[in-house]
């Protein structure tokens, strides 16, 4: 891509961010969503995060890796156990990364 095209792309990507993120913010009171949709939206954060996390834990290079030789899956399980017992977020990231690095070398 030429420099001009690259900058044009960057500007358009900025527009894509604003159009989506600010969409309902800009609509304000103009749109009232039906109660059913509002109800479903309460579960949006958990569903969205799970949908980002799960593939990274069990997939490698586009293929399912549901095995004990998958360091990310094992580190994820370890990190989950750590969080459930301690409720410490930063500690979970550190322990998870340590586990992941260790397992990657070992497995």
């Amino acid at each position: 891509m030429s420099a001009v095209d690259t900058w044009l792309t960057i500007i358009l990507l900025t527009v894509a961010t604003i159009v989506t993120r600010s969409s309902f913010f800009l609509l304000g009171h103009a749109v009232k969503l039906p109660p059913k949709v509002q109800h479903a939206l309460r579960y949006a954060p958990a569903a969205a995060l799970a949908a980002i996390v799960a593939p990274d834990l069990v997939m490698a290079n586009g293929a399912l890796q549901l095995t004990w030789a998958n360091p990310k899956l094992l580190a994820g399980i370890g990190a989950t156990a750590f969080f459930l017992t301690t409720r410490h977020l930063l500690g979970t990231i550190i322990v998870g990364m340590a586990l992941y690095s260790l397992l990657r070398v070992m497995l």
Partner: protein, 248 residues
């Protein structure tokens, strides 16, 4: 405002928002390491795709959307038409429309330029942390919301941009095999757990995970969008079912 009354007068709005801001910063702080790591991976990817230093910096500070940036990079490298890159980013970002629908009602009373500003910052972390403090029932209450929201958003922004700039500058020094990006996944994993507050949410999480994995090969990260919609719907269905059973 007179200082002599400060100790006895009820907390002013400014103080309340400041306190809420600090609360937001505190809520976001433990995730910053993970977010920074994620930003770093994105920063490195931009430079490795062949963006110049200024283009990479411009992209991170203007676009501020990791998944759309990562999706656009191979297209930029392959010289794809500009409008194709734009449409791809738009589709990758569709989950933000759902996030906006969930959060925007809390700020509907503000003038449009402030709504635009807040919307720009409403990313994954904000969406995860804000409703825990201010659930949907509090939509008509305004106190502390802007402060708390900004506290999360600006911490998230700093962590992301800090990591991203570091990644841009160090792109050639850090081997990809270190897997730093996994820290971002771990941060999100740890936030998902407390969000799983009831059996409906648990079903939502499981369904969304399965759909996301099964649909991972769909283009434009449509699998992610599909997973959010199906997971959300499944959780609501369980909720409605349990409600009916209780009433019966």
């Amino acid at each position: 405002m007179s200082n002599s009354q400060a100790s006895t007068a009820p907390e002013t709005t400014v103080d309340l928002e400041k306190r809420a801001y600090r609360e937001g910063v505190k809520a976001c702080a433990p995730t910053m390491l993970g977010i920074g790591a994620w930003g770093m991976v994105t920063g490195m990817a931009m430079v490795k795709t062949g963006l110049t230093l200024w283009q990479a910096l411009g992209m991170t500070f203007l676009v501020f959307a990791g998944s759309a940036q990562l999706a656009s990079l191979p297209l930029i490298a392959a010289n794809a038409p500009v409008w194709v890159v734009f449409l791809t980013a738009l589709v990758v970002n569709l989950r933000f429309v759902i996030f906006a629908a969930a959060i925007a009602p809390h700020f509907a009373h503000l003038p449009w330029h402030r709504r635009l500003w807040h919307g720009y910052f409403n990313a994954d972390i904000t969406m995860a942390l804000f409703p825990r403090r201010f659930p949907a029932e509090t939509v008509n209450q305004h106190e502390g919301k802007v402060g708390f929201f900004n506290g999360i958003c600006y911490s998230n922004w700093m962590a992301w941009q800090g990591g991203s700039v570091l990644g841009i500058l160090l792109a050639s020094q850090i081997p990809e095999s270190w897997g730093i990006g996994f820290a971002g996944t771990l941060a999100l994993l740890a936030i998902t757990i407390p969000l799983t507050v009831n059996s409906a949410a648990l079903v939502g999480v499981i369904v969304a995970s399965i759909v996301a994995i099964a649909a991972a090969s769909l283009p434009y990260r449509l699998g992610l969008l599909l997973a959010v919609i199906v997971g959300m719907t499944a959780a609501m269905a369980v909720d409605t079912y349990l409600d009916k059973k209780e009433k019966a």
